[in-house]
């Protein structure tokens, strides 16, 4: 069906698009512009100027920071790919016992709550961490895992590789197995099969994941700061804004530059995928079932998988030990163990847990609805300005959390919500909105990749058979996208559950505070390290269970849908 033909039934998508657009305008564009215009103001006179950018580009420190940021982001993508490729390939294309478990465990690093993750990593892998203390004792040398930029690359790639894992797995699951079969029939196998057939077909998922990793690492503040690395762009922006003051232009100049870089990265990923058709008519359900591995191959694969999982889960091991230990100081393991931290956390902070479930659940729900809508509008309609919807939503990924938080306070504090008579900026709903905006890009990329892989022929077929546009979306598009949608939901939920940088600006009373905020609080005192870690473990468990349940859900859906799809595909 041509775009003109589609244009006939477009009032529905147009209305939805307008609504999403207005939402983004009110809760993303306006607050951010409210803050960022400072970058274009002369600090002395307040007049519009570009002088701040001149200052930026002539500053040695900023140049260095930019180079460091790019280096770290690229290296993190490389390392994250090394972690993600084997995990996703083995678990999706072969009969591999424990695939769901591996997938779930593989997502866990994403939900490492702020502060505790790097603390745990330092305790295990730092210069005087467990591993190095042992190495030093046995062999007399240490390995600088966490020194300088190395530390940032390692922590970031462990933290964000699930983006690649999830999106790539969703893509791999959606490849028509007939393609693989044909290749095998033609004699391709092993690495060649993967390199020439499977991986290229899964490219949309990989690129979606890799570009997210790049973006997140590029503008992550927490990890470098925790490791006390400040010669990178995002930390510089944060440091300038939070220490020199809210009206210092350089912080905002850097923010603007971060946004530009992020958009560039996105654009590059669009270019990489342009001109190629990734859609396959038949979804993964058809064709041959998963392949079997020979016993020795299987053993090798398990070896690789277990090694990767041990490495990427090391922060969690460290955190678990920390949450159960009494004093852990310059020693391989804590001096003694106790349950006291958990008792304290459960008795003092159960509100954090319910708040987190509520906020992250609502935010992720909003995200997949908007994500699906935007993906559909961009890929399937000819609406004017549809690309801008995509860019605006993705732009959120590049907005430092602090900037969004300050923007919200500035924009919405004067606005009183009727009935409850409270400023919108201090109503808990604003936290949900902020989380939804900040995590929308994740859900959007996942939905985008899912829809990209879906041949438009399926929808044409449904419409030719008399289904209305709405019914087609509801019965064909959304069900076939469900893998991507659930992946999007899980990513948004899991990361929203541990978001801190915006939340910290917006929480106006303790009873509204989510988990991450509680952890942050605990981690500010010597006696709070254990309880903070315990709260972190609880956060990880909650999100882990949610992820596992949704993976089960996808699996069940996929099996139950196969006959339907066969019919659709058969037409």
């Amino acid at each position: 069906m041509s775009l003109e033909a589609m244009a006939r039934g477009q009032w529905g998508p147009a209305a939805v698009g307008l609504f999403v657009g207005l939402f983004l305008l009110a809760f993303l564009v306006v607050p951010v512009v409210n803050v960022i215009y400072v970058a274009f103001q002369d600090p002395n006179t307040g007049a519009l100027t570009l002088i701040n950018f001149v200052d930026f580009f002539r500053n040695n420190l900023f140049q260095e920071s930019a180079l460091n940021s790019i280096y770290v982001a690229l290296m993190a993508v490389v390392l994250a790919s090394i972690f993600a490729l084997p995990l996703s390939y083995f678990t999706t294309r072969f009969n591999f016992g424990g695939a769901i478990l591996i997938q779930t465990l593989g997502v866990l690093p994403l939900i490492m709550p702020p502060f505790v993750g790097a603390v745990a990593m330092l305790l295990l892998l730092g210069e005087n961490g467990s591993v190095n203390l042992l190495l030093d004792e046995w062999f007399g040398f240490t390995i600088p895992f966490m020194e300088g930029l190395n530390g940032v690359i390692l922590v970031e790639s462990i933290h964000y590789f699930p983006f690649i894992l999830m999106n790539l797995s969703a893509s791999l699951n959606s490849i028509d197995r007939a393609m693989e079969e044909s290749a095998q029939n033609l004699g391709a196998s092993g690495v060649r099969l993967f390199r020439r057939i499977v991986f290229p077909l899964a490219m949309p998922g990989y690129v979606a994941g890799a570009s997210l990793v790049f973006l997140k690492v590029f503008d992550d503040i927490g990890t470098p700061l925790l490791l006390n690395i400040n010669n990178m762009l995002a930390p510089q922006a944060y440091l300038r804004i939070s220490s020199i003051g809210i009206s210092d232009p350089m912080g905002y100049v850097i923010s603007v530059i971060l946004v530009i870089f992020s958009l560039l990265a996105l654009w590059t990923s669009f270019l990489a995928l342009r001109g190629k058709d990734y859609a396959t008519v038949q979804k993964g359900g058809g064709g041959l079932m998963k392949r079997d591995l020979r016993p020795w191959e299987k053993a090798g694969c398990y070896g690789v998988v277990i090694f990767i999982l041990l490495l990427v889960l090391s922060p969690h091991f460290g955190l678990a030990i920390l949450s159960l230990g009494t004093v852990w100081s310059f020693s391989v393991l804590p001096d003694a163990y106790t349950y006291a931290h958990y008792l304290r956390v459960v008795s003092e902070s159960s509100e954090f847990i319910t708040n987190t479930l509520l906020y992250a659940g609502l935010a992720a729900g909003i995200d997949v609805i908007f994500g699906t809508a935007i993906a559909y509008i961009v890929l399937r309609t000819g609406l004017a300005g549809r690309k801008w919807l995509d860019y605006a939503a993705m732009g959120a990924v590049a907005i430092p959390g602090v900037v969004l938080g300050i923007g919200y306070l500035r924009t919405f504090y004067a606005f009183n919500v009727p009935i409850i008579d409270k400023p919108l900026a201090s109503w808990w709903v604003i936290i949900v909105v902020a989380l939804a905006i900040r995590r929308l890009p994740y859900a959007l990329r996942a939905c985008f990749a899912a829809l990209q892989q879906l041949s438009v022929m399926l929808e044409e077929a449904a419409e030719n058979l008399g289904a209305t546009k709405g019914r087609t979306i509801y019965r064909v598009v959304v069900p076939l996208m469900s893998g991507g949608i659930v992946a999007g939901f899980v990513t948004s939920f899991a990361t929203a559950a541990v978001e801190l940088s915006t939340t910290i600006m917006l929480v106006s009373q303790e009873s509204d505070a989510p988990l991450a905020f509680g952890i942050y609080e605990f981690m500010q005192s010597a006696a709070g390290r254990g309880p903070g870690a315990a709260l972190g473990i609880i956060a990880v468990l909650i999100v882990g269970v949610a992820t596992y349940v949704s993976h089960r859900f996808i699996q069940r859906k996929e099996t139950s849908q196969t006959p339907d799809m066969a019919i659709v595909a058969g037409v």
Partner: protein
């Protein structure tokens, strides 16, 4: 009959209560109290419990923000204020709020609080904020770390500049933590501009890291990421009390500063807020500060009678915090310039500074007792280059110069020439070149020995 009787008694009792309560009606507290604070739950929860026990019926809500974020929060929400109090350590944070006209004056009723602790006035002379505890900076170290690396225990700030401590010391930046700022300023005032900076840079050359949060320092020492840290006393004392293998001392040149509390302007619950201040200053409230998870120095001298044996008492032990007569006005005048200078010279150029320091230390070690005038001259030259500060003390406190670093432009008509970013860029270029040259000189000296 009996029910009627009891009804009567209930009514009578109720009336009696109403009559009794009437005179107190005037001082009855509001049901809620919202406090913006930078303190960790160990402090807030403990104090909150004690206060709510003393004043049942008032529900205290603690809103935790980092000091800088707290200031911003109060500034941004002033038009529709919902907070009653601001409760944090750094006096300068209160100065900022006072300057923005966001605080409410209050006169304390509790008696027995001295005027000064160390050389610092406890309360704001203008009456806007009150000191409730004192804190001073000192050195904390991890005893296991020092033992494993065979390092001696330091006694003074200058000790930290010794080559044995290279790569073992941690500190936060003055721009990140108000109390760190005071430490830097104290040493500068105590030793003078040039000598003070030279000393700071000699210490900083041994830094393992400059932490982003002030708590990052005790955290790093507690976990053994680095061995020694320059920290505020209660971080050290409470870490020790929580069982970590750490120790804390006050070096001779330190300043005791009050940690403060203030009522926010247009507070929705002013009476409860006043009651909170009074409570904090009563012997009952002061005693809470001795809790082993808090460990702050009370401002009420009587409270020290109940303190553990080795607890420092600044009202008795005059050596704590009395060596330097702290000039608050001078500190205020050059506040932002000091922050910026430290960041440019130390925080952001730590690697360069460390490399230069290491080279100098190596050269000096090789020198030992040898007599080599040429080499000595090179080393001295290298040291001078490291110590060099881009501006003089006079320039640092110049009003026009400081205006460039002001957080806020007062009026559109205020004439300011130059931009902070522009100046920092120049400084950075100088500092980087100096460090590189110092390193080269020291290496050259070493090759001659």
């Amino acid at each position: 009959m009996s029910t009627k009787k009891s009804t009567f008694w209930i009514i009578a009792f109720g009336l009696a209560l109403a009559v009794l309560a009437a005179p107190f009606g005037a001082v009855a507290l509001e049901k809620k109290l919202v406090i913006v604070t930078s303190y960790p739950p160990d402090t807030t929860t403990t104090v909150k419990k004690a206060f709510e026990k003393r004043h049942p019926g008032v529900k205290v809500e603690m809103l935790k923000k980092k000091t800088t974020a707290g200031i911003k929060y109060l500034q941004e929400t002033a038009s529709n204020n919902r907070s009653d109090m601001f409760w944090a350590s750094a006096p300068d944070a209160f100065e900022v709020l006072k300057g923005d006209n966001l605080l409410q004056k209050y006169k304390v009723k509790v008696k027995g609080i001295p005027k000064k602790v160390g050389a610092f006035p406890i309360n704001d002379p203008e009456g806007y904020y009150k000191g409730f505890a004192a804190s001073g900076y000192g050195i904390m170290w991890n005893t296991r770390y020092l033992k494993a690396k065979k390092l001696p225990e330091p006694k003074t700030w200058v000790d930290l500049a010794k080559p044995v401590y290279h790569g073992h010391v941690g500190m936060s930046a003055p721009s990140r933590s108000g109390t760190t700022h005071l430490t830097v300023e104290t040493l500068l005032q105590g030793k003078g501009w040039e000598k003070g900076w030279a000393e700071w840079k000699a210490i900083a050359g041994n830094f393992k890291t400059v932490t982003e949060r002030s708590f990052g320092v005790p955290d790093g020492v507690n976990s053994g990421q680095f061995g020694l840290g320059i920290v505020i006393d209660f971080f050290g004392l409470s870490s020790e009390a929580s069982g970590f293998p750490v120790k804390f001392i006050y070096p001779p040149v330190t300043t005791l500063v009050p940690a403060n509390i203030a009522i926010v302007k247009n507070a929705p619950h002013p009476k409860a807020a006043a009651a909170f201040i009074e409570f904090l200053l009563t012997p009952e409230g002061q005693e809470v500060l001795l809790d082993k998870k808090i460990r702050r120095l009370p401002v009420n001298p009587a409270t020290y009678a109940k303190a553990p044996a080795d607890f420092p008492n600044p009202f008795k032990d005059k050596s704590i915090g009395a060596a330097v007569k702290f000039d608050l006005q001078l500190s205020k005048n050059r506040y932002n310039v000091i922050n910026s200078l430290f960041d440019v010279m130390v925080t952001y150029r730590l690697n360069d500074l460390r490399a230069a320091t290491k080279a100098i230390q190596t050269a000096e070690a090789q020198m030992g007792g040898k007599k080599n005038m040429a080499a000595k001259k090179l080393i001295d030259e290298a040291k001078a280059l490291v110590a060099k500060v881009p501006i003089t003390a006079a320039q640092a406190s110049k009003k026009e110069f400081n205006a460039i670093f002001k957080k806020k432009r007062k009026k559109a008509t205020t004439k300011v020439t130059g931009r902070q970013a522009e100046i920092e860029r120049e400084w950075d270029a100088q500092v980087k070149a100096n460090y590189a040259r110092a390193r080269a000189l020291a290496e050259k000296a070493a090759s001659m020995l």
